[in-house]
Symmetry: C2
Subunit: 415 residues, 2 copies
């Protein structure tokens, strides 16, 4: 089955916003095993939108449109699709009720007149409730072709797609498609591919695909089968073999588990508290740990020691170390990590010191040089990196490597 995406909105043509809906939908369609050959962005213009929808319905089985379902005159996706597919419009009493309810619970005192437009739907279309706004989604079916209309704001579109459209598309498929994610840190994409090359080349079902993320590699194993159990059975030995080959580089096999979640889970498992001592990352590392709900159980305080004076005051880094080796050095990183543990009475500290640039680099210590250290129960680990990219990119990569060193330090000490 072939699916294609149409994003409707002049704001996309003007470059006011990045089109993240398309990436989200494309990834989910790939997961469903649907083929996709085209994605189009078109503005809020009757003739161009109608022509785009016509072309898409001719060459694809399913067309998913996002945007243009709002209450203003400009919004015309629903009307244009109804026209192209030959549906008359009618008011949907259920949607009218939902709009009334939405406004009752909102700060608005009166319902703007133009919002009633959103209760008009193509007669006989399947209406998708919107739990996060007033525009309902729609599914239109005609002559073996399907149009799925979704609101543009991601906060409305994503849950509607996941909860209502994904199961619908799944039910149209003769086969079940299941996939398993394997998330990896501490090794590059080409090294991962090299370790898995024979598996990647040799497999057609399941397939194995690698994706590079900042400081991470994600491997997705995808199987097609008659039912869920059969799909899982096909994947199992392949996933097991990939995990065996990659060992501790694998930090998670859960779709929604981030690196910081995996780290927090490990800290919780071994009942450890952690702290951070940051120079060039300046709080971003702690900020990512705290992004995990419930992080307060394992993280109580963190220190941002940007100046040398602060490194001495809070972390007791010795004056002679700073003088002899400099703030960006293995020795300083080690003393920062040890000092963090003693200053905060935590079980483990991860410390980062480096040159994020753009200025301040030398031949000996170039911009991008970052030292990361952990101190856990008297054991110190330190690693150095030379990251490429601008200031923001260098700091982002340092945060990922720091989280990963913390993860590996715990594994090495407790397993």
């Amino acid at each position: 089955m072939v699916v294609e995406l149409i994003s409707v909105g002049t704001e996309l043509l003007l470059g006011n916003i990045v089109n993240t809906n398309t990436q989200f939908l494309a990834e989910k369609c790939a997961l469903l095993g649907l083929s996709m050959y085209y994605q189009t962005v078109v503005g809020d213009n009757h003739d161009r939108l109608a022509q785009t929808v016509r072309t898409a319905l001719e060459r694809s089985d399913v067309v998913i449109l996002t945007g243009g379902l709002g209450p203003t005159e400009d919004d015309m996706t629903k009307e244009v699709c109804a026209e192209v597919m030959g549906y008359p419009m009618e008011e949907d009493p259920h949607t009218r009720e939902r709009i009334e309810e939405y406004f009752r619970n909102s700060a608005y005192k009166v319902i703007p007149d133009n919002n009633w437009k959103q209760a008009q739907v193509p007669a006989g279309a399947r209406v998708l409730d919107n739990d996060n706004g007033t525009a309902p989604g729609l599914i239109l079916e005609k002559d073996g072709k399907i149009a799925v209309l979704l609101p543009g704001p991601p906060v409305e579109m994503k849950p509607m797609f996941i909860n209502q459209v994904y199961p619908y598309l799944q039910s149209l498929q003769p086969e079940v498609i299941r996939s398993q994610m394997i998330k990896i840190c501490g090794i590059g994409e080409s090294a991962v591919e090299e370790k898995l090359l024979d598996l990647i080349d040799g497999q057609t079902n399941p397939t194995i695909a690698t994706y590079a993320k900042t400081g991470e590699v994600h491997v997705r194993v995808t199987a097609k089968a008659a039912d869920e159990e059969a799909a899982r059975k096909i994947m199992k030995p392949v996933v097991k073999e990939i995990r065996r080959r990659l060992g501790d580089f694998v930090y998670s096999t859960k779709e929604n588990e981030t690196l910081e979640m995996a780290v927090v889970k490990l800290l919780e498992k071994y009942e450890l508290t952690a702290t951070t001592a940051e120079s060039c990352t300046g709080g971003l590392l702690a900020g990512r740990l705290v992004n995990v709900p419930g992080a307060s159980e394992i993280f109580r305080e963190g220190l941002i020691t940007y100046s040398n004076k602060a490194k001495r005051k809070y972390l007791d880094v010795s004056k002679s170390t700073l003088k002899k080796y400099g703030a960006v050095s293995e020795q300083t990183a080690k003393e920062m990590a040890a000092g963090g543990v003693f200053a905060t009475d935590s079980d483990v500290c991860v410390a980062v010191t480096g040159l994020a640039g753009p200025d301040g680099g030398t031949e000996e210590k170039p911009v991008g040089l970052v030292y990361i250290a952990t101190y856990l129960k008297g054991s110190v680990k330190v690693e150095s990196y030379h990251f490429k990219g601008d200031r923001a990119k260098i700091r982002e990569q340092a945060v990922v490597k720091a989280l990963d060193l913390l993860r590996r330090s715990i594994l090495d000490n407790y397993r």
Copy 2:
């Protein structure tokens, strides 16, 4: 003049990456005053790509393609465009030399054979040097239609577009288009629009457009004129009037100046040092300040006090305040700000305490409730917010409001 974008790449159709190239190019084309009606994504497939290019050249004057210029068999954008527009291929000696040079300066010892494919160009095409990779860009002109071919990686595409394509497209335009950015914080988009409604409705040259960003509003004034000076003259009174109406809500009129840059500039101007005392934002606020190169002049240390114990230990928040009002309260925020100044000997401290969720909210103190306080020369300011969204979104908004409160505190004290 009508321009249209084609992004070539199966990885986009599979949702492996977000298409940020399109937003970048669309924004720049809008700045150039070009009209855009369509953006298309198509895979590395000869027939579909050729058809897409043909359709685009029929309905638009300029077609900008990104991606598919690499050295592998899959990459065919150049060959397909040459075929559609009737250009024979030939080797470009200058590009061959540049590829040799690129590899001499790289870690690779030998040049992979397939890289020579990148020296093949449509005969007579304008070749655009690639300073960040081996694939040259190309401009093909035929029968009044133009195709611009750019490499897909943003790090190669963006500088090539800015330095070589932007001036080229500008030279095709009969008029000069200039725009002026006005960046605003502390007031919502609809309130900004209300204040500017008569200006927005009344103007056709310059035009005024507003864009909502997280916690910020950007206003762009754009003028068309015969030359640069005339364009600036048209914009000047309008920009002045907008600044007058929005007053201190305007934090910058520079295209590339971020809120944290504006704050660091103010701190530098008044020779102030700043520190941060963070609870729910957990380092993100300091992380954003440190994103400004040279922040070490105004920021030396920051405290992440996630637990009550840490708030007492580092910031001397009183036990009775925490007990009586709770960690998420106006009183705690104020004491955190004051305590930050005394603990670090900085001139000003900005403190954040709030409930980022998803758990821990009550009717009285719901998730999203955040208190932000500043302490500067004995003067305290405190504000409360009730942010919507998930944990990450709540924390992101809190950081923006904290930076803005810091900015306004400095303005109020020093002006």
